[in-house]
Symmetry: D2
Subunit: 292 residues, 4 copies
C-alpha cells in the first residue's frame, strides 16, 4: 500500500463559537484534547463537522495552527482545505502543509457542476503545490458532485493523492474501490451508519464525529475488526447505531454540540443560520445516550 499514517478512528472535532458567533479557539483546544486522550487514532480539523465552509480564511488558519499546537505530534493530523476555486484551495493546502499537517483532505466543491476533466485538473493543480499526501473526498450531499469510481481512479494517478474517503452511503462504492484499487490505496468510510459494512468491506479507517460523544464504542468496533471477530463487531455496532443515525440525521455540528451539553461539556455556540436542536430533539438524544 502507498504508505500512509492514517488508520482506525479518525476523529472530527467541531469548531465552537462564542456568543457573538466568533470562533472560540480556547474552547476548541479543550474539545480537541478530549478527542486526543480518548484514544482516537488521528484527528481531522476543518471537516464538515468543523463547519469549514462557514469560516473565513483567517479563522481556518487559526484553527489549523491551534490543532498542530495542541496535538504536538501525538497523532497524525488531516486538515480540510477544500474551496470552490482552485486558487483558494492551493492557498489553504500550502498553509496547512507549512503549519505542520500530515495530510490534507480535498472535496471538489461544486456550484457549477464540474466535468471529470475539471475535477482532475483541480486536484492535479493543487497536488503539484504541496508534498504532503491528499485524501480525495467524495460526498455528493455536501460537495454537490458525485465522483464516479472511474474518476477516483484517474485522480489516484496523481502521486500524492493516496487516500479516498467515501461518504455516499453506498457500500457498493467501497466494494468497487477495494476490488479495483486492491491494496495500493487506502479507502476510508465517511458514512457513520455504514461503519460495520465498510470495515467488513475492507476500509482502512473511519472518519467520524462520533468520538466527541462515544469514543470507546468507536474504538471497540475497530478493535473487533482488527481481531477478526465479526460477532463482537456486530454487537458493538448495533449498540452505537442509534446514535450514529441520530447525529447524521440532525446534522453533525448541531448534534455533537447538543450531545456535549447532555454530557455536561461546553460545546459553545453555532454560527447562523445553523441553530441548536429543538428541545424535543435534545430529549431524544438524551435517551439514546443513556442507552449506550
Amino acid at each position: 500500500m502507498k504508505n500512509n499514517l492514517f488508520k482506525g478512528i479518525i476523529a472530527y472535532p467541531i469548531t465552537p463559537f462564542d456568543k457573538e458567533e466568533k470562533v472560540d479557539i480556547s474552547l476548541y483546544k479543550k474539545l480537541l484534547e478530549r478527542l486526543l486522550v480518548s484514544g482516537s487514532h488521528a484527528v481531522a480539523p476543518l471537516g464538515s463537522t468543523g463547519v469549514m465552509p462557514y469560516l473565513t480564511d483567517e479563522e481556518k488558519e487559526a484553527v489549523t495552527e491551534a490543532t498542530i499546537q495542541q496535538v504536538k505530534g501525538r497523532v497524525p493530523v488531516l486538515v480540510g482545505v477544500s474551496n470552490l476555486t482552485t486558487e483558494r484551495t492551493i492557498y489553504h493546502a500550502k498553509f496547512a502543509e507549512k503549519a505542520g499537517a500530515d495530510a490534507v483532505m480535498i472535496i471538489p466543491m461544486s456550484y457549477w457542476k464540474l466535468s471529470d476533466d475539471e475535477i482532475v485538473k483541480h486536484f492535479d493543480t493543487v497536488a503539484k503545490q504541496i508534498t504532503v499526501p491528499i485524501m480525495a473526498y467524495n460526498n455528493p450531499a455536501t460537495g454537490g458532485v458525485d465522483m464516479s469510481p472511474a474518476l477516483l481512479k484517474r485522480i489516484l494517478e496523481i502521486p500524492n493523492v493516496t487516500m479516498i474517503k467515501e461518504s455516499t452511503g453506498d457500500v457498493q462504492r467501497m466494494h468497487y474501490l477495494k476490488r479495483e484499487l486492491g491494496d495500493d490505496v487506502a479507502f476510508y468510510n465517511g458514512s457513520n451508519p455504514l461503519a460495520l459494512a465498510a470495515f467488513a468491506a475492507g476500509a482502512t479507517g473511519w472518519c467520524t464525529a462520533a468520538p466527541n460523544l462515544i469514543p470507546n464504542l468507536n474504538t471497540d468496533l475497530y478493535n473487533a475488526i482488527q481481531n477478526n471477530d465479526l460477532n463482537e463487531a456486530q454487537k458493538v455496532f448495533y449498540k452505537q447505531l442509534n446514535l450514529l443515525k441520530f447525529i447524521v440525521n440532525k446534522g453533525l455540528p448541531r448534534a455533537i454540540k447538543a450531545g456535549l451539553g447532555i454530557q455536561g461539556i461546553d460545546g459553545g455556540f453555532l454560527r447562523s443560520p445553523l441553530k441548536p436542536l429543538t428541545e424535543s430533539e435534545v430529549k431524544e438524544l438524551g435517551l439514546i445516550l443513556e442507552e449506550v
Copy 2:
C-alpha cells in the same frame, strides 16, 4: 426466534422454456437437481429468477408440483405466490400449501400504488387462508412498492408472517430490521452484491440465483460467516463479486441461462419479450466465470 426452517443459501432455479416458449418441466427438474446436489440449504421456485409473473396459472402449478416431487424433502421449499389481486394470491398460496410447500413468499405487487392499509389487509387476508409461514418480500424495483420498515413491522404482527426478504440494496434497512425485530424474526438478503454486508448485519440467509453458476463460492461465504471468520468471508466475497454484479445488472433469468450455456449446461429458451444476452455480453460473462 419464531421457528423457521430457512437459513443459509436459498437457491432460486430458473424456469426454462422450450423452442415454442412453453415451460419445459423436464429440463426444469434437471436444473433443480443441480441446485440440490450442490449444497444449497433451500430452494425457491417461482421467484423473479423463475419469471413467475410471465407464467399462466397452470404453468405455475406445474412448476410447484415438479419442485416438490424433485426435492422429496431433502431441503425446505419456498414457493412464490405473489399476484396483483388478493384473490389470485390466495389461490396460489393455497395451491402451494396443498402441494407440500414449506413456506410461501409474497411480494405485494403493485400497479396502482397501494396504501399501507391495503398492503396489510392483503397480507392478512392471504395469511388467514393458509397455515404455512409467509416470507414478506420487499423489492421496489420489481414489485413497484417500497415497504417501509414501519410497515414491515405491522405485517409481522400477522402470526404466520415470520420472515422478511429485503432487496432494496440498502444495508441500512437490514440494520433497522435487526435492531427493531431483534431475534424474533429472521431477515433474508435478496440483493446479491450486498451478500457480505447483509451477513455482517446479521442476515439469516441469502436468497440468490448465483448457485446455478457458483454454488461453492456461495456456501463458502456462508460457512465463513458461521465460523466468525470475517477475513475469510471478505476474501471469498470479493472472489464472486464480479459475477454477482453481472447477473444482477443483466437480469437474472438472462444471465443465468447464458452462464449455464458457458458451463455446457442446457438452460433452455427465454419467453418473449425477454431475449438472450448479446454476444459481447456472453463473452464478458465468460471472462468473469473463468476468473472465479
Copy 3:
C-alpha cells in the same frame, strides 16, 4: 401528420365490480354512456383507470366487446392491450382489432427491465399481427420502464405505431417529441396536472379519467387551446387543477369511484387489494368538487 382519428379529450372509463368483485358489465355500459354524452372526443377502455392488469383475459374481452357495442361508432375507441409477455399482447391486440377497436394502446410492461432492443422487438412483433394503429405509451410509474425519446423514435419507425402517449409528468419530454417528430406523429398527454403545459407544448390530445367527474372543464380547456386563447385556457386549467391533482395522488380508480359517489352515481366496487378512499379523503374530494 400520419393520419389519426384521435384528438382532444380521450376519456378513460373505470371498470366497476359488483359486491363479489366480479366485473359488472351492465354498470360499465352506463358509466361509459355518461362519457359519450358529455362530449369526450374518444374513449379508452382497459387503461390504468380501467384496472386492466387486474382483469382476467375473459374479463378484458368482455369489456372490449361491451365498449364497441355501446359506442356504436359515435367516437373512436382506443383499447388497452398491454401484457407482460409478447404472446399475450398479440392475443389481446388481435382480439381488440377483430372486435372493432380503432386503435390499441401498448405500454411495454416490465418485470425484468427490458433492453431497448427487447422493447422494439416487442412492439414490432405485435404490430405485424394487426393493421389498426398503435399508441405507444410511456409511463415508468406503472409500466416499470422509462422509454427514452430516442427509443420512442425507433419505435415510431414501425409503420402502424403512429401515436405516443407520455405520462412521465415531465414537460421536457413533450418538447422533445414535438421538436424531433414535428408534425409527423401525434403525441398525447397522460399526466393530468400537466394538461395546460402539454397543450401549450403542442399535444394533440389529453388522455384522462377526469371526464368521469368534470367533463365540461376538460373540453373547455381543449376549446380554449383550439381558439388560441391562452388567458382563458389558464383560467379554466386552474379551476380544475385541484381535482386533477387529487385524482392522481389518490389513484384514479379509487378517486373516480369516490367522486361518482359524491355526485350520486353508482361506481360499483373495487377489486382487492384496492380499497375505497377513507372517509376523510372522500370529504376532501367533496370540498374540491364543490369548488369546481
Copy 4:
C-alpha cells in the same frame, strides 16, 4: 399584487475574468451594456451566471457598483447577495441596497441541510436589515436545499419578501405558487427550458442568461405571451429550445462565454476550476446558433 418593478426578461450577465483570473470590470460593463440595449426588462448581476459564489467580497462589491453605474436607472437592478452564513448575507444585502439596487435575490445556500425554521429565520434576519424587496430563490441543484411550496408560503409572510424565483424545473411548483399565492406575489421562472410552460402557468418574468446570445427570441416569447398568442409563443419557443437546453446542460458561464466567442464578442476568461467548453462542444453550439 405586491408592487414590484420586475417583469418580462430579467437578464443575467456573466462575470468575465482576465488572463490572471481577476475580475475584469471594464469588460463586464461592455457585456452588461449589450444586455441593456438589446431590450431586456431588468438585469441581475451576481447570479449563478455571474459565478457569484466564486468571488471574494471585494469583487462582489465592485461588480455591484459597476452595474449601478452602467445601468444608470434605465432598467431595474436585482443583485444576488446569497451567502452560506447569515452575517455575510446581511453584509452584502446592505451593501447592495446602499449602492442603489432595486431588489436583492437570496437563495438559502446550504452546506449543512437547513431546517425550515432555520431558513425562515435566515430570511427574516436579513429582511429586517434592509428595505428593498427580496426575491426568494429556490434552486436545489445549486443551493443544496429544496424549499417546499409550504415553506415558500411562510417566507412570503415576511413583508419585504415579495417575489419567488423557481428553478426546480418542475412546472407543478409554478402551478402551486400561482394557485396558492394568487395575484399577491409574483413568481419568476429560472429554468430556461421551462420558459413556455412557466409563462403559460402565469409567471411574471423569466430570469435567464440567454439574452447574452439571443435577446430578440427571448423578448419575442414574452411579447407573444403578452398578446395572448399561444401559437406564436409556441413557434418562438421551439426556435430557441435547442439553445436553452444547451446552455443549461453545459453550465451557463461556460456556455455563454463560448457563445459570445462564436458571435465575435470577447467574453473574457473563466476562473478555475471552471474550464472552457471543449472544441466539439463549441462546434455543437455553433450549429445551434446558426439555426436560430
